[in-house]
Symmetry: C2
Subunit: 380 residues, 2 copies
């Protein structure tokens, strides 16, 4: 096991009705920016419950944050933060709203051009406090210090991380997720699954507890994900998925072990250039990447196949097939053709990877643009 | 899954050499009480490393905290805290030193007789900050807000919990554990194992991720525990056990599920009355308790047997046998006779249970003193 330092100070409020408990966690005299997306929160109960909880706070609303939240929109929200002297940012929505809230929180106290936080990796030394009421289990943003932002003008999708933007609290109320569209259910499960894979599917390092925790989340997603599609009104199923998605990327399972993240980095470019949903890009990239990297990842693939997919004997190739079949079962196509893209879609993605300096990805730093090309062509 | 609220703000510094990083986590002008036990830290490196790290701090030492830390000794330490205006308490040692530090931290800011925190459940509204350099993986005290204290004068062993005494940081350096006596290695593994069991082995509640996380820790302890006895100088083995013991009782795996804790409550009385090590009492009580409660716990026992002990078919009785055999394999006797006690040892333990109001233990509240008598007699 490698040395590590880990602290996760986000307070999780899990279960139906927990939104009622946010008011006491936000200073009574705070001006709160309530950030949300396209308006689904007005139908799933989150909007009403959050406003009711904050009846005695000064709340300013800012809606319209997109899936893959854009720098352009968030800079408008930043103007509101500054004009209204906002003290606290409450994200009510999915991962995009959470990521957007974190960027605004950092930008509000950043001295300079906020884009430098993303493109230059400029240090985030402080941020406004952030809270989350989560409505879509997927990204894990509710309990980590990471954020990914898209700039439409330059077709860039870049991330940053800072402990200062870690949410102070996160409400995980599964009942808000009962009305999610099928596509978002599938996307969320695939996203959480791949978050675990990025921290697990590298090479053995004698970290058996981390391995088993990762396998625990994968097994539970495989078990519960299809149930969410088959019986969409089952609260218990949604609760299990919501807890899995949170644990998948709150940092815990990746402590002390090597990590990959090449699927995410390539996937970000596919979204930036071609507009696929984040999870769709992961479903496209991961199986092909594993086939290209099968020799390096064989030991963990075999372990995954036997422990999670119940294979009687080690079989790395069959394990990759099983992952791909699971994504398809969740309704997420796993080839570029499934999104009306052909081989000609590959080059602009690779150009974008190169432009953003993603030249040496993966746990060995050996996924060059040439290897990424091979991966995407295999997936076309 | 039941609703829950969970926050764990302890910063974990894991790995060899991490003690060097504590100084920056304690205010430079703080007067630090360095609390320790019988002196093993002067041989395993922790004492020297902690003092070196705090070379520029004002450090006052207080040694001699016992296994099962006593109220009597800790009140002496409290005098030092008050006389020297201590600002920060650094526990360097095992679970007893950690628990003692927490009690002192709470007592220092408690208005009244500190024993009321334990016997009356008086609220802990604030506490001095606590840090831990852990030298014995077992109790999980390094990353939770719990503490158990023994009063010699009245033969009472009682606990309290408060978020205010949760350590701000905990150094988990496995190299400090390489020189532990065999008895403490066995005790530590048994203690961590039973912490998981108390949060897992109740009844099914459709919390599959919590179940699998618990099973992950149990499987890893079963795998790594005997290795620590067979190859005591293997750092990697000690690292895995140390991470297991921390995760076993940092609160995570018990969120949203019913919990038992009757083995601990009965065990505390066995220690208070007869002086057995904490883990020895758990090894004595648990197998007998499971046999008495086999019908209520059958479903989870069968799941445990198949998933963790690799049994081909559900078999609750054989699962209990396997747990008992594991404790014996770790060198911890599982019957009162193993500690030169016979049936006459039972009644004073039950009297003490009753005196401390432990009249309805377990996840169903149906382990009365009469049932506890049955359990201890079965174990004699």
């Amino acid at each position: 096991m490698q040395n590590f330092v880990y602290k996760n100070a986000t307070e999780i409020l899990f279960g139906a009705g927990q939104t009622a408990n946010i008011a006491e966690r936000i200073p009574a005299d705070a001006t709160v920016l309530m950030l949300y997306g396209g308006g689904s929160i007005k139908h799933n109960g989150a909007y009403d419950q959050a406003l009711a909880a904050l009846a005695n706070h000064n709340v300013i609303e800012f809606g319209g944050v997109e899936a893959n939240p854009t720098y352009e929109t968030l800079m408008q929200a930043l103007d509101v933060v500054r004009d209204e002297a906002v003290d606290f940012i409450l994200a009510v929505g999915g991962g995009s709203v959470g990521d957007g809230a974190k960027f605004i929180a950092a930008a509000a106290q950043f001295n300079g051009e906020p884009w430098d936080i993303l493109e230059q990796g400029a240090a985030v030394l402080s941020a406004l406090p952030v809270g989350v009421v989560l409505t879509l289990p997927a990204t894990g943003t509710e309990s980590n210090g990471n954020s990914v932002i898209t700039r439409v003008g330059t077709q860039q999708k870049l991330g940053f991380g800072s402990p200062h933007v870690r949410p102070q609290f996160a409400v995980l109320d599964p009942s808000f997720t009962l009305t999610l569209p099928v596509r978002q259910v599938g996307n969320g499960v695939v996203d959480a699954f791949v978050h675990v894979i990025e921290q697990y599917l590298t090479y053995p390092t004698n970290a058996p507890l981390q391995d088993r925790f990762a396998e625990s989340i994968l097994s539970t997603l495989i078990e519960e994900g299809p149930k969410a599609l088959a019986t969409p009104d089952d609260y218990a199923v949604r609760a299990n998925i919501m807890w899995c998605a949170c644990m998948a990327l709150n940092g815990l399972i990746g402590q002390g072990v090597p990590q990959d993240w090449s699927t995410h980095m390539i996937g970000h470019e596919v979204t930036a250039v071609h507009g696929l949903d984040h999870a769709q890009t992961l479903a496209v990239v991961l199986p092909a990447l594993l086939r290209v990297k099968i020799d390096q990842k064989r030991a963990k693939l075999e372990q995954l196949g036997q422990r999670v997919f119940g294979m009687p004997a080690p079989d790395a190739a069959a394990t990759i097939d099983a992952i791909q079949a699971f994504f398809e079962r969740m309704g997420v196509p796993t080839r570029l053709a499934g999104y009306d893209l052909d081989r000609s879609a590959v080059k602009p993605v690779i150009d974008s990877l190169e432009k953003n300096g993603m030249l040496a990805l993966g746990e060995h730093g050996d996924i060059t643009p040439a290897v990424a090309t091979q991966i995407l062509e295999l997936s076309s």
